[in-house]
């Protein structure tokens, strides 16, 4: 029986166009698995002095900026932050929402694009999933950090106790707690499951302590049909189940605000509005991370190509538009409703002393993506994309800042209005969680294969077909 496989792209290989396509699309530019493995492993195991310095700096940042200041805050009291009456939530919750938003990217990119079989996702699902997990880890700290008495946080956990008391399941914070726990656990598992074959790969190509770790984590993965079948099934369940969880998480985060009677928060549109905002900032963050990975790590230019930036750029544009739609919707209806307090609030946002935050939000979230991302060339310039997406994230941070401290400061009684200004502790803890995120990511980049090699190979092979009987089938399972 003749063994005959050919890549789809090979059919056009003669033309220059085909060569471009090949250059551009990872899926059409296959490399032997062994080589790809080697590239990934090399990227993972190359550590420069710069890397260690960065790791040390961010590690110190975590230690001092996050845990040092947090410790001081616990001992001294919440007053070391800039919160005040009536701004009881401020930068912490802003950053919390920001991180939770970031964490949507992994799931979105990985699960939704997986479900919709978007091929360009393949090389960067892992990077995005890592972002989800670490973003959540950083974000999930904030509900703890912002507690006045963090040493009693476990009272939010339902467990039978001597006080006869249970948590209040009517409280959005308990929903939050449950949702974030669910999301953190499931996204961690969702990161882990597709990682198993790659861990096995890493196991086969490492020695010493790395080998023992990978061996443990790879769960004796060999790659038998049964294992693949099981894994695929599990991934499928996750891909489908984690999407509603993801939507629920940010919806619930938005409900923290929307269920309250606070002016400017009590809005039914907050759920989708927050989700769109989260995906916008999440996808932008993926672009940022990919740019950094691509430009700092070895061999990554092969995996992370212009097509990736191009497609993500389109996504950012789409979500920026969707965000603008929701924003306008919310604004118009509030404005039209004519409730005096809301009008005051909106006027304040646009004209008050902190109007620059509001304008930053609009410029970064709407103007910049709209003006630039139409352009294919810009979408295909990684550095430009990096700058644009950074600005989008700045804008999204500004959005949350507007929603939280600025809105809380201007409630129904003008007598009690108050302006919040962050203090050293707020800022350093926020920076500390950024350090934590980067630190974890730096660590992970050298411990975990950042590219899901098997998925890439799978994708590349999916573009080859095999004759079976009368018809042709693709070689790999997924595209059946």
């Amino acid at each position: 029986m003749a063994a005959e496989t050919k890549t789809l792209s090979a059919t056009h290989s003669a033309s220059q166009e085909g060569e471009d396509l090949r250059q551009e699309h990872l899926m059409h530019d296959p490399k032997p698995r062994e080589e790809m493995n080697g590239m990934v492993m090399e990227a993972m195991q190359t550590t420069s002095k710069k890397y260690w310095i960065a790791l040390a700096i961010f590690g110190l940042g975590v230690l001092i900026l996050l845990f040092g200041f947090w410790g001081n805050q616990i001992i001294t009291g919440m007053g070391v932050t800039g919160k005040r009456r009536p701004v009881f939530w401020a930068l912490y919750i802003t950053t919390f929402v920001f991180w939770i938003g970031i964490s949507h990217a992994g799931t979105f990119v990985s699960a939704i694009l997986r479900v919709f079989k978007a091929e360009f996702r393949r090389p960067f699902t892992r990077a995005a999933e890592l972002m989800t997990t670490f973003g959540l880890a950083a974000g999930a700290l904030f509900p703890l950090i912002h507690l006045g008495r963090v040493w009693t946080f476990y009272w939010m956990i339902p467990y039978p106790n001597a006080r006869w008391l249970w948590p209040n399941f009517r409280s959005p914070l308990v929903w939050d707690f449950l949702a974030i726990t669910t999301y953190l656990l499931s996204s961690t598992i969702y990161l882990y499951l597709p990682l198993i074959p790659d861990l096995a790969m890493a196991r086969d190509r490492s020695t010493g302590w790395r080998h023992s770790i990978y061996k443990l984590l790879a769960l004796n993965w060999r790659g038998t049909e049964a294992e693949w079948h099981r894994l695929r099934k599990a991934i499928n369940i996750f891909a489908f189940a984690i999407i509603p969880v993801m939507f629920s998480v940010h919806t619930i985060v938005s409900w923290d605000f929307a269920v309250s009677q606070t002016v400017g928060w009590h809005s039914t549109i907050f759920g989708p509005y927050f989700i769109i905002g989260a995906i916008l900032s999440g996808v932008s963050a993926v672009v940022m991370i990919l740019f950094i990975i691509q430009s700092t790590m070895k061999n990554m230019k092969y995996f992370i190509r212009l097509e990736v930036f191009d497609s993500l750029g389109k996504l950012v544009l789409i979500f920026s538009m969707a965000w603008a739609y929701f924003f306008f919707n919310e604004y118009l209806l509030h404005w039209y409703g004519g409730y005096q307090a809301v009008r005051d609030l909106l006027t304040f946002h646009a004209q008050g002393p902190t109007a620059w935050v509001w304008y930053t939000m609009l410029i970064c979230n709407v103007a910049i993506p709209w003006l630039t991302l139409w352009n294919r060339k810009i979408r295909r310039t990684p550095l430009a994309m990096f700058i644009i997406t950074t600005l989008v994230n700045v804008g999204m941070f500004a959005e949350r800042y507007t929603i939280i401290p600025l809105t809380l400061g201007e409630q129904r009684f003008p007598f009690d209005w108050g302006a919040y200004s962050p203090r050293l502790t707020d800022i350093s803890i926020v920076i500390g969680t950024f350090c934590l995120f980067i630190f974890l990511y730096l660590l992970a980049s050298r411990l975990i294969p950042l590219i899901p090699v098997w998925e890439v190979q799978e994708g590349q092979m999916a573009h080859s077909t095999r004759k079976l009987g009368k018809g042709k089938v693709t070689s790999v399972a997924e595209l059946e």
Binding site: Q45, A162, R163, W164, L165, G208, W209, R210
Partner: protein, 178 residues
């Protein structure tokens, strides 16, 4: 990437972690133990003897019937009787010392109320509760000993058992927390 010895096998680190854990656990354990143990009193007051002679609790802890606090007896109360008694036991010698100089005895309360909680003796006494229901059988103790596990659940248990029809009122947060 091969290193001589991974950092996590560093003996110093392991010992350090072990020490920290030991201190934390030890602290917690000590905390638990000392709250369940009778504290050191300035005079080892023999409750068994006093209760045995038939002195009612309210003779010394007179506040229980009329107000929230049962109170500790003043030196006057002790000295009132003991002035007439011999002082040749070590405990009575100590009492004589306090009594003769009119210094208050620094008693350490045994049945303490957690902070932020208010307890009122009067309704409990009025409802006919005996002292020993909550304070144990002091006739068998010299210094008063705490009863472990007297927490909110303990209160609620009793309220539920004693007066299920009034449980809404008796489990109202405002009853104790203000």
């Amino acid at each position: 990437m091969q290193r001589k010895k991974p950092w996590w096998q560093n003996a110093g680190l392991r010992i350090g972690i072990a020490l920290v854990m030991l201190v934390l656990l030890g602290g917690a354990a000590t905390g638990v133990v000392i709250t369940q143990k009778a504290p050191q009193q300035p005079i080892e007051f023999p409750h068994n003897f006093h209760v045995g002679t038939g002195i009612p609790c309210a003779y010394c802890h007179s506040g229980a019937e009329t107000g929230p606090v049962a109170g500790l007896p003043s030196i006057e109360t002790c000295w009132g009787c003991h002035q007439q008694l011999r002082t040749n036991t070590p405990r009575l010698a100590k009492l004589a010392e306090y009594g003769s100089t009119n210094t208050p005895i620094p008693w350490v309360p045994v049945f303490i109320q957690p902070d932020f909680v208010h307890f009122n003796h009067r309704p409990h006494v009025a409802a006919g509760l005996e002292c020993k229901t909550c304070h144990g059988d002091t006739a068998g103790q010299t210094v008063a000993e705490p009863i472990p596990g007297q927490n909110m659940g303990w209160c609620l248990d009793c309220h539920y058992k004693m007066a299920p029809e009034n449980f809404t009122r008796l489990s109202d947060c405002a009853t104790c927390h203000y």
